[in-house]
Symmetry: C2
Subunit: 154 residues, 2 copies
Amino acid sequence: MTVQIDAMDRKILQQLQEDASQSLDDIARKVGSSKTPVWNRIRKMREGGVIGQQTVILDPDALGLEACFFVLVRTNAHEADWQKKFLKALRSRPEVLEAHRLAGEIDYILKVRVKNARAYDEFYQALIKEVAIYNVTALLSMEEIKNTTMLPLD
Amino acid sequence: MTVQIDAMDRKILQQLQEDASQSLDDIARKVGSSKTPVWNRIRKMREGGVIGQQTVILDPDALGLEACFFVLVRTNAHEADWQKKFLKALRSRPEVLEAHRLAGEIDYILKVRVKNARAYDEFYQALIKEVAIYNVTALLSMEEIKNTTMLPLD
DNA sequence: GCTGAAAGTAACCGGGG
DNA sequence: CCCCGGTTACTTTCAGC
């Protein structure tokens, strides 16, 4: 079912990750191929779900989203019902950019982008009102050292 | 210096976030404007750095990157020199997708994408060999509940 | 599976309202 | 500031090899 990815595919993906707006001609030249084969590979990888959404990266500060928190969540409710409600809450909130279920002591980690600490508290209050949570630790980011969507393809 | 963003700009950004490949005409229609003004706004926001890189989101599993770790780092070396070396190491490693300096007990958080636990260990060993670290906790992601680059624009 | 060309579509950039 | 139209450039498809 899964598409097989070879070295040429990876080169193409690398180019698309770096700049999805460049023309097929440019990509073909850079990867040492030509338009049609590159286009066919891209089409296949899109259909196979290897290539997903095409998007732009926006500057959060310019949009007034100056605060970023990582939230460590511990729960004692491990029932399927509770989990379902919790996941639904996370997915419906646009300020939650990322959410993972973890192995070990801590059950979930969230990455939350908001205007300021006040806005985080409003998010937090709304969340714990919606679903019971045993323990929460919020880590405030002081400096974003690195933030990339580019996966390592070598 | 910073570009002023109004409601129309936000609508345009929303469209670009959702699908950066759609045509100017489509965007213009959806936001209730027309080509020229939309194009001018996009150009301004690009120049102003509000709109950054245009990219594609790839499926990590399809590329064999099936493990995701969040790494909590505590240090006791708070000298500028150590920090410089540490940041350089993080930025140079492509498996580090995200790195933040934090306020509080924990000094740094990293998000690392690798093939498997073995590959994580290799990354970890290489990192602590390069720079001294007081304490490290690795949190293994079992399930990616949500992962988006879309900032909330309302 | 590549080449090259042909057709359709969109970006870009003027002059005018 | 926005509308419109022309030009250039790109994407997408397809017949031939």
